[in-house]
Subunit: 335 residues, 2 copies
């Protein structure tokens, strides 16, 4: 298996990929399966709406050098499905275009495909199409599709007095990247260091939480993922609801208890880790308080309430007795 | 307008793009338009099937240095919509991810977006989503969607005795690329040289022909575009119909009359230009002969009959009195 992919070439590589994929497909309509091997894939429309989102990952920007090919494959599926969950839709399928270096080994290619197919299985979706190209750096570009009948969660549907909630801890991807890029040993327990790093190398989606929201869509007024960082996402919400303000209580944001220590070691502020870095695949949602109270017990296992919507038109952070403004700043490409 | 895109950055560039796009959208449902500015786009399902295809273009492989940014924008839409037409579906929408160099000028960015939006308008589709990234080389990756109720044209539906037809001249993209890459002046009329080069810089889709096929789907047994070259596409058809053979009459293949001269100048064979290069966006279709006779008059303006399906299990080319085998070879990445 020290063969490189150039020994096989595009045609045999696609055959290899499709055969791995087809092994996972049973009970599929033969005409639909045939379309997955044709010019374009067809999908039977069984819902009122199709939900579509696209995201591209480029080696030098999105894949730390420690990331395995399996993890790269997982990540391209995760980042794309994340946007489908953000609309409260059920993900159904994905197409993935890849540009690969001819010197990539066949083992690395297989690992990448296995990572893709593993996440497709976890999220209950099918890889239905793609394109294969040649490039020095690895580029993965995908489009995920989902279905929904009604109750689409647009960011513009946020209401005054809604609770602001997130589905999990923030800040670890930022800290994880610093830990990966550092040569010095940081004095935190090894298992905690690995847990923090894992959030950047193997991001997960809040699938259990999403399924609950899909079951009770009346709970949620608006939803988004936090890939640009909490501050930037709150900024998007304010842009789409210009009459509203968003107040976050710092003490209610959940994070790994070693983050303050890691931040200090790297001369970063904890605020930067928690608010301004992003690469987080937790969901940020606004909830009607009355609806929340009806589901309080179940929701307490699924979400963290971190603030409340008001009419201040500002993004504010309560820290003890002080209130500071949050700058709606996150990572920006091409700047 | 000598500003570079890095002076604006991702957020303002996306705003600029969306504002150009929104100017072209009228009469759209406000909730659906809002979703085009949200995590994922939603589409109302008005057909039985959604048809989906994806294609990536990378500067060094797919954009000759003479290609303008406007033409690059046009091309990413054309190559993706081509696969939707190949299924005899009506294209509806597209998402496009772009990776751009920070030093790109704002004028070049605007030109690229204008090229994208121009082709969207020509094909009657909407740009509904995308992603913006940073890279040295330009990378454009898109996914096109279409709709169809029935009569999907799978390559595996080809029948014995069907006529083989194409929608237009072959070979010019191959010759056009040679002309672009050459420093010497080839002695053919300037307007013919420009016509040949235009097929590589500004490929067009057979829209009029597609509309006719969508109106009379019973005409066609199978269909595909010719992006891998006629020989490779016939090879795909044979793979999917292993009991069939495909016989092409060389004299019936339409091509620009200056191609033999150009091929000779570049020491290429006319066969290579016509059969093995690709980058062609004409459609290759198989037609039931009885159905053809019912529509003969209209079809004679739309297609060229170039051969016939048989049961030889071979790909053969009739040239005068001789018959030669066609090797199912086209351009292959990563080899």
């Amino acid at each position: 298996m020290n063969k490189t992919i150039s020994e096989l070439g595009e045609i045999k590589l696609i055959e290899r990929l499709l055969s791995k994929r087809d092994d996972k497909l049973s009970d599929i309509n033969p005409q639909i399966l045939a379309s997955y091997h044709d010019d374009a894939a067809i999908e039977l429309n069984t819902s009122t709406y199709t939900v579509i989102s696209t995201d591209m990952l480029i080696e030098h920007s999105h894949f730390p050098k420690e990331m395995t090919h399996y993890q790269m494959g997982e990540k391209i599926v995760t980042v794309n499905v994340s946007d489908i969950l953000s609309m409260n839709a059920t993900p159904t399928s994905i197409v993935i275009s890849m540009a690969l270096n001819p010197s990539m080994t066949l083992q690395e290619f297989d690992d990448m495909i296995d990572g893709i197919l593993h996440k497709c299985e976890e999220y209950g979706i099918t890889l239905i199409g793609g394109d294969l190209n040649q490039n020095d750096e690895i580029i993965l570009s995908a489009t995920a599709m989902g279905k929904i009948n009604k109750n689409i969660k647009l960011q513009s549907n946020t209401n005054n007095n809604d609770l602001i909630a997130i589905t999990g801890e923030l800040g670890s991807p930022a800290a994880g990247l610093d830990l990966l890029n550092s040569n010095e040993k940081i004095d935190i327990p090894n298992n905690e260091e690995q847990k923090i790093i894992k959030t950047i190398l193997e991001p997960n989606l809040p699938i259990k939480e999403s399924k609950y929201f899909q079951k009770y869509p009346e709970l949620i007024s608006s939803m988004t993922d936090i890939t640009d960082g909490l501050a930037a996402e709150l900024g998007h919400l304010r842009e789409k609801n210009p009459e509203l303000g968003f107040e976050i209580e710092f003490d209610k944001i959940p994070f790994n208890s070693y983050l303050p220590h890691v931040a200090k070691q790297f001369n970063k502020s904890l605020n930067y880790y928690l608010l301004h870095f992003g690469e987080e695949f937790e969901l940020l949602l606004t909830i009607n308080e009355k609806e929340y109270l009806k589901h309080e017990k179940e929701l307490d296992d699924l979400i963290y309430i971190i603030g409340k919507v008001n009419t201040s038109k500002n993004l504010t952070l309560i820290k003890g007795n002080s209130i500071e403004n949050i700058e709606a700043r996150g990572y920006e490409h091409l700047k």
